[in-house]
Symmetry: C2
Subunit: 313 residues, 2 copies
Amino acid sequence: MKPAMAKVKRIEGVLAPVITPFRKDYAPDAPRFVRHCRWLLKSGCAGLAVFGTNSEANSLSVSEKKSLLEKLVAGGVPASALMPGTGHCALSDSIEMTRAAVELGCAGVLMLPPFYYKGVSDEGLYRNFAEVIERVGDERLQLYLYHIPPVAQVSITLGLIERLLSKYPGIVAGVKDSSGEWSNTKAMLDAFAKEGFDVFAGSEVFLLDNMRHGGKGCITATGNINPGPIANVYRNWRSADADRLQAGISATRKIVQKQPMIPALKAAVAHFGNDREWKTCRPPLVELTAQQEETLITELRAAGFDMPGLASV
Amino acid sequence: MKPAMAKVKRIEGVLAPVITPFRKDYAPDAPRFVRHCRWLLKSGCAGLAVFGTNSEANSLSVSEKKSLLEKLVAGGVPASALMPGTGHCALSDSIEMTRAAVELGCAGVLMLPPFYYKGVSDEGLYRNFAEVIERVGDERLQLYLYHIPPVAQVSITLGLIERLLSKYPGIVAGVKDSSGEWSNTKAMLDAFAKEGFDVFAGSEVFLLDNMRHGGKGCITATGNINPGPIANVYRNWRSADADRLQAGISATRKIVQKQPMIPALKAAVAHFGNDREWKTCRPPLVELTAQQEETLITELRAAGFDMPGLASV
């Protein structure tokens, strides 16, 4: 380990797993990426979980991600607001990407388990995360575990968290729970929140519940397009109005998730930002059909949805 | 596309998805890798599907794999016997690895679909494979599709094969079917074998059936330890003795697959090659327990199993 240094303040609140813009030739589009990140921070996001599932991060190489991360920081996005995804199938990739994030001064990293092999043991997953921590060897590292069994098909169990937290307190910082099951988030909160383990809900649908039980916010796909109202729930979760505010953001989510999520987010940014280039997805994902797009935009407009300031960033 | 060149002869027969040795620090062990590849080719394998599922390929970075591939060829393993795995989640990684394999003169590449996002469309998968073919742009490319739904959770459908084959005849060369369902392999054979599309069974259990219906061999985990007897079935599939030979290799397979496959293969090589360093697996995989290893070795010995010549390569 490098000598202990003052840790950056941990992020709390609403984070967006920032969607990644691609040019027509599928190359990452750094200028559009920087602009969208700036808009998100201006519009209520406390942090940016770049290179998450909704970022098509697993469709990007490590070198493409490192380059985008450097351009974000060079473009004025503060590293203290960044929690990049750094978990890969290959241990060597996870180490390289995590080291790059720490060296840039990122507030934390959000790590998927290695997700190719299925039915792996907690011992194998423990070795994976422990090896990354040891090899990066930097006490500035704040590692958030990323539990998303519907996609990764490999889980972060309570037993695994307990073992990692006990071996690496102060480094293992929290979790994003995208299981979609409140009972699981609640179990994580009950077991570890008091030890300074920060639990983020993987959807704003659980934001209020999470805050009421000791959680720290949410990291949510729709944070890409609806950051203001979601951050408003976070700021006012103790208010008498909280349930009404929560119902509003849950209703917007419901409209978006009728469509395939990632192309839907891109279609919304393309429409409300008047910038159709945003629609491109990298294979294996595809853009919305014209019909899906029309339904999405019509329903969002009917609900009074807007993305203020987006067209002018 | 680069100008058409004489295509290398397509591989037929038994291929091993070569297991990858690691040092105690989890670094790939190139000298042991080269030695094992040489033993496999001497012992009956027609080709080497390095960087397959059983190779822990998805636990390796692209640069680690490129380096190992170069060392194999430098170590005297003929590129004309190599069919490396080159399919990754990231399109850019798949392009880089496929290009490296073609430029080294490999006989073919075995490509997983991008496997992080689940429930993706055939259109998205088509774009992925087509983009790799177009970007590599080299008519020497022989692309074998890798269908392994139990692990990848993303399938290569008959419709996808049909579309790729019709657009890229002569480049889309075949498939490895690791569905574990003979009816699926049979459907692939019935639909495409006559068009020069080479179907390999993903397990030697289906080798004889595959040969009898127009297939070209098998690419099988246990090819790593039992290449001679499996190749014997391939060579004698038309003989009166074929069913008895097939029963023998199926019985050996049955012993091995009682244990977790990858560490079991490594334990067998460690034992019969008298080289215990072979046991190391890279996280998230772990080696066999002492009990599992004892059961494996005892049962293999009781069945008269051996790996002739392994200890002296």
